[in-house]
């Protein structure tokens, strides 16, 4: 297996990327082929990510499976360095899972199927890339690659929402999402440039996270510099993580996107932002992080409450889920901002847990929409009568999101609270209140849409398809599994978090 | 003497130029241009650049003005009388004066140290032109060729046109 050890990280980027390229050459008139092919690719990705997660030696810790290829030599010095640590390993696994789920669920894509899977696999490759690289250039490269397909994925295969008084078109949402994420990334880019210039003045110019990390650890990066650069990363990555007040792309974008894309985007892509804050902001700019964390945790708390309160008065099923993502990403941001091993660990676990949970929710909402062609919760009602499994899964996902013990969300949120409690007591209490608010809108949604007397209009609806059942079932099992026995996840995360500076 | 000539020729040069840009009649403008260009040739003479003066008169006086006059006649149309300045002429004046101001200031602030006036030898000029400057010279010939071909292609009317 040593050869796999050498190449696993490289493969996990290249497999979906090559998959995307090869998909282009599939016959156009047989859309099913693209689907089967994408399934094959994502199964391989899932196996690879499982391998990476399982083979990560949490006893040894640190970065493992490291590999480095030179890309550009001096004077610019860019290497494609790959490695995985306790923070990225669970996220790689998450992406493997959600990617396969998203591909499977995209069976319903009927127009330009081939193009869809090309873009979807490129998206997957970008996300994997961000999680495995240790070089700022490539981090940014894959970060952008992950954003790139979003415009078309939403614009072409998405759906518009009619609010009566106004229309949120998919084009608008796609454009907003795309520009917003790119706008965030320009801050990141500027930050990266600043770091590079800084490293040049300190000796060797470098993009290597390892070298920059060593510079930071040696204290040669001045606090003043860190303090002005950190907000670039915080806001830049924060945009992708849905940081308030830069979150509005998220509900609109998620709602407009087709199901599989919503799953990937809300499930995985938003985590790139939080991951970036940890990997770049915290590691390279520990003192800057310390100075800015009070603001971040405040904004995170606002996210939690604001997202939850906004979700309460949404009438569109998917918007509720969209705003709930905003709210839940608030816990991630809060956890990060605690700079506390438990809090940050909670944030990482929340990334994983929310990824699965929100993917599941979007899957189920998508299933409803596919059948009923409407998402208005005042119109949909009593779906339980026809869509038992679907409703049941939704209930599980909803319960996970409101922090029901026994499901993964509880462990994660609880850890975030714990971390925040020690550092920012009042905000922690507000966050707990936020969790209670989550219950309000989730139960409201459940009650309105899935429970109650069924309207005869919905007689024709069918329950989840086998594919939906399978994907949803696996996600439910994961939610419960992590909720009941988080140790396999936590022991990896703990190692990763412990090695972060400033904790 | 040279002062007198200089002032006279300068006056003619600038006056001719003003005539070109101010007159309402296009043909007059061409004639003013001729005046100005010939006066410039005179200035070259003061500067002891006889060859250039010659070239100036031949090419400008002999060729360019003629071509311009042809063009004026070919394009003569009913609206020539009302052709004069466009609406932005005051702005144009200000801009031109502004540039003039900057250039004059640049020339006058710290004038270049100069030596005696001298006249380069024809032979030296020719030698330099065909040795050291051979490549630009050849390229210039291509420029003329291109202009020629272009003028023919563009101005020639062919059957398909109408």
């Amino acid at each position: 297996m040593s050869s796999l050890e050498q190449t696993a990280l490289f493969l996990i980027i290249m497999v979906p990327l090559l998959g995307a390229v090869l998909t282009m050459f599939l016959p156009k008139d047989r859309p099913g082929d693209a689907w089967y092919f994408a399934i094959g690719v994502s199964v391989v990705c899932l196996l690879l990510s499982l391998y990476i997660f399982v083979s990560y030696d949490y006893g040894a810790g640190g970065f493992q499976l490291a590999r480095s290829f030179q890309w550009l030599e001096a004077p610019i010095n860019i290497d494609l360095s790959l490695a995985v640590d306790g923070i990225s390993a669970p996220l790689i696994l998450l992406n493997g899972l959600v990617l396969l789920g998203a591909v499977l669920i995209s069976q319903t894509i009927r127009t330009r199927t081939r193009d869809f899977f090309v873009l979807l696999q490129a998206l997957g490759a970008g996300v994997f890339g961000v999680f495995v690289v240790r070089d700022l250039f490539f981090l940014f490269f894959f970060y952008e690659l992950a954003v790139l397909p979003m415009y078309l994925l939403i614009g072409v295969w998405g759906s518009s929402t009619d609010f009566g008084s106004f229309l949120r078109t998919k084009e608008y949402s796609a454009m907003k999402l795309f520009l917003y994420l790119i706008a965030g990334s320009i801050l990141v880019w500027i930050g990266i440039l600043a770091l590079y210039v800084k490293s040049a003045t300190l000796g060797t110019p470098t993009f290597s996270l390892e070298d920059l990390g060593n510079l930071a650890a040696s204290g040669s990066i001045s606090e003043e510099f860190q303090t002005w650069v950190f907000p670039l990363f915080m806001v830049g990555f924060g945009v992708l993580a849905g940081l308030w007040p830069f979150h509005t792309w998220s509900p609109d974008g998620h709602v407009a996107a087709p199901t599989g894309v919503s799953m990937l985007h809300a499930g995985v892509l938003m985590k790139l932002g939080a991951y970036g804050i940890i990997r770049v902001g915290m590691v390279l700019l520990p003192e800057g992080a310390e100075n800015w964390m009070p603001l971040l945790i405040t904004l995170g708390t606002v996210n939690v409450l604001y997202g939850a309160v906004s979700a309460m008065s949404q009438t569109d099923l998917k918007y509720v889920v969209g705003y709930s993502s905003v709210s839940h990403m608030g816990y991630v941001l809060m956890g990060i901002a605690t700079l506390d091993p438990i809090g940050v660990g909670g944030a990482v676990l929340q990334m994983f847990s929310h990824g699965i949970m929100t993917a599941l929710m979007f899957l189920l909402v998508g299933a409803v929409y596919d059948r009923a062609h409407i998402r208005d919760i005042y119109v949909l009602n009593g779906l339980f009568g026809r869509m038992r499994v679907n409703s049941f899964f939704f209930a599980i996902a909803g319960l996970a999101s409101l922090g029901l013990p026994g499901l993964s969300g509880f462990i994660a949120e609880f850890m975030v609270f714990t971390g925040a409690f020690r550092t920012y007591l009042p905000l922690a209490i507000l966050a707990v209140v936020g969790a209670a608010l989550t219950a309000v809108y989730i139960l409201r949604l459940l009650a309105r849409t899935f429970l109650g007397e069924m309207d005869p209009r919905w007689e024709h609806l069918t329950d989840a398809s086998p594919v939906e059942k399978a994907v949803g079932g696996v996600f439910v099992v994961i939610l419960i599994g992590v909720g009941v026995w988080p140790e396999p996840m936590m022991r990896v995360i703990n190692v990763g978090v412990a090695s972060l500076p400033g904790i | 003497m040279s002062w007198f000539l200089f002032i006279l020729l300068s006056f003619l040069t600038l006056g001719g130029g003003l005539g070109v840009v101010l007159t309402r009649n296009v043909v007059h403008a061409a004639l003013f241009l001729l005046v100005s260009l010939v006066a410039v040739a005179g200035l070259y003479l003061i500067l002891l650049a006889e060859f250039l003066a010659l070239v100036q008169v031949l090419i400008y006086g002999g060729a360019i003005i003629i071509v311009l006059l042809f063009a004026i006649m070919l394009t003569r149309s009913a609206d020539y009388p009302r052709i004069s300045d466009n609406r932005q002429w005051p702005l144009a004046g200000i801009a031109a004066l502004g540039l003039l101001g900057v250039l004059s200031a640049a020339f006058l602030t710290r004038p270049v140290e100069e030596t005696q006036l001298h006249s380069p030898a024809f032979a030296g000029l020719g030698n330099s032109l065909f040795t050291r400057w051979a490549i630009p010279f050849e390229v210039a010939s291509l420029v003329l060729l291109v202009a020629l071909i272009g003028a023919i292609i563009i101005a020639r009317s062919n059957e398909e046109e109408r």
Binding site: L148, L152, F178, I186 | V112, V139, I149, I153, E160
Partner: protein, 505 residues
């Protein structure tokens, strides 16, 4: 001057190219009307041969000819091969268009070849007059080519605006040259840098002269505020010419600027450190205006014009960041030029192919292209994503490299502004992509044949771009991806070129 003849072999590519051009013009005269299609093939083959010749004759040579007028070095070789290669591709993209829509095809290719000659000389000239005259050769060819569709008012107008503004700007440039000459008495870049280095007591006319010189060059690359001709000319000129303007002429002008600045200005370190900010300001204004105005465009060619203005801003930022001790900025500019050129070639080739099929060039005409011509749509989309600076395409790598160079050169704010301008640019690129991928196929296309130019074609669905076009598209798409994924070999060449003009680094 014995060195004149000894090394004449070093100019053999230029002579060959001039010969080729004149030969094409001559052959064309004798070809019967039906056989004129051979001229482009001959030209392309000739260019290929000249590339081989250049590489054979000039590889590894580092010499100065004619007492410092021309340089034969890695820099000029790099651009020479680049321009020649570009020429081949431009010829291929033009063929169908020229064949169908323009008169005098033979002269068209002849002029194209002459303009390439002008570009080559520009890249190797180390003296103001030589540079100027080469520039004029290029410009004259372009003036003619812009007005080539002489039946079309827009083309006439483009030609007129171009030549008048061009002549005006060359007058300004020449006045600058004359001021430089009258202050320090020299015109060679190296001498200028020497004079600048020892300029204790120099006339301010020198400064004004340099400014006027930069205005002339700024016009050529269409830097704001000398850019306004560009959209009109791009829009009015025949499409292949527009492509050529956007790619070739810009690259050549930047080659000249690079050498001028690197050899003429940068060695005078004190003054250059003062002047960098001027270029930076120019760059900032250019990138902002170009990208902002592009937001409001509805015509594809015009959009590309403003977009190219925006890119000029980025390139100027790279120029501003040139430094005597580092080749990073110069590498950045050259890499950007190459990446930008191949990307633009991809986009333009696709637009030309589309135009050949439909005779349309407004953005809305692209509606539903992803369904009508998926490959073309993909090419344009990839090109636009690349121009917008998104990865795996060339645009990302080159932008990243260039902005790193700009930031390292002490202009972090400018790099930041450039990144912001890129963001703006993405909006209008996406607008086009939206037309192609999201909007439905317009009814008139589905219905059949009504075309703007009145020429009746078969229904478009049955058409596909010519194989030649597809070939160009495929090649440039591969190049765009390759340059985005693995630019290292390219950078090796660029590095050598940079060393040639910045020996101090």
């Amino acid at each position: 001057m014995p060195e004149l003849t000894q090394n004449i072999g070093l100019l053999s590519p230029e002579f060959a190219l001039a010969g080729l051009a004149l030969g094409i013009l001559a052959i064309d005269l004798f070809l019967p009307d039906g056989k004129k299609q051979v001229t482009p093939w001959l030209s392309a083959a000739g260019l290929a041969g000249i590339i081989a010749l250049s590489l054979y004759m000039l590889w590894g040579r580092q010499e100065t000819l004619y007492g410092g007028l021309l340089a034969v070095d890695a820099f000029s070789l790099f651009f020479k091969v680049f321009f020649l290669g570009l020429g081949i591709l431009i010829i291929f993209t033009s063929m169908e268009y020229v064949d169908r829509r323009l008169d005098n095809p033979g002269e068209f290719y002849g002029l194209l070849l002459l303009s390439i000659l002008g570009m080559n000389v520009m890249a190797q000239s180390r003296e103001l007059l030589t540079a100027y005259i080469a520039l004029e050769l290029l410009s004259f060819c372009l003036y003619v080519m812009a007005a080539y569709a002489k039946g079309e008012p827009k083309s006439n107008e483009a030609g007129l605006k171009y030549i008048l503004i061009g002549a005006f700007s060359s007058a300004i440039l020449l006045y600058g040259v004359s001021m430089i000459y009258s202050s320090v008495g020299v015109t060679r870049f190296a001498d200028i840098s020497l004079a600048l280095g020892s300029a204790g007591d120099v006339s301010p006319a020198l400064w004004a002269g340099l400014a006027l010189l930069v205005v002339g060059l700024g016009f050529k690359v269409s830097a704001v505020p000398f850019h306004m001709w560009a959209p009109d000319v791009y829009e009015g000129a025949p499409l292949p010419v527009t492509a050529y303007l956007a790619i070739g002429s810009k690259a050549a002008a930047f080659a000249l600027i690079l050498r001028l600045v690197a050899e003429g200005f940068v060695p005078a370190e004190d003054l250059w450190s003062q002047w960098q900010i001027i270029f930076a300001v120019l760059a900032a204004v250019t990138m902002l205006v170009g990208n902002l105005v592009a937001l409001a465009q509805t015509n594809l060619k015009r959009l590309m014009a403003y977009s190219s203005i925006g890119h000029v801003g980025f390139l100027l930022a790279g120029i501003a960041a040139l430094a005597p001790s580092s080749v990073l900025a110069s590498n950045g500019v050259m890499l950007y030029l190459v990446g930008y050129s191949i990307t633009n070639l991809l986009v333009f080739a696709a637009i030309i192919a589309f135009f050949n099929l439909t005779g349309r060039e407004e953005i809305v005409d692209l509606a539903g292209l992803a369904d009508r011509q998926p490959f073309l749509a993909a090419c344009i989309a990839i090109g636009f994503f690349s121009l917008g600076g998104l990865p795996i395409f060339a645009g990302f790598a080159i932008k990243f490299y260039l902005f790193v160079a700009v930031a390292t050169g002490g202009f972090l704010w400018l790099a930041g502004l450039a990144i912001f301008a890129s963001l703006i640019s993405i909006y209008y690129y996406l607008k086009v992509i939206r037309q192609m991928y999201i909007e439905p196929v317009p009814e008139y296309v589905a219905a059949g044949s009504e075309r703007e130019d009145g020429i009746v074609y078969e229904p478009e669905q049955n058409l596909s771009p010519s194989f030649l076009m597809l070939g160009v598209l495929a090649i440039s798409m591969l190049a765009v991806v390759l340059a985005g994924v693995y630019p290292a070999p390219l950078l090796d060449l660029i590095e050598a070129a940079s060393q040639a003009i910045l020996p101090g680094a």
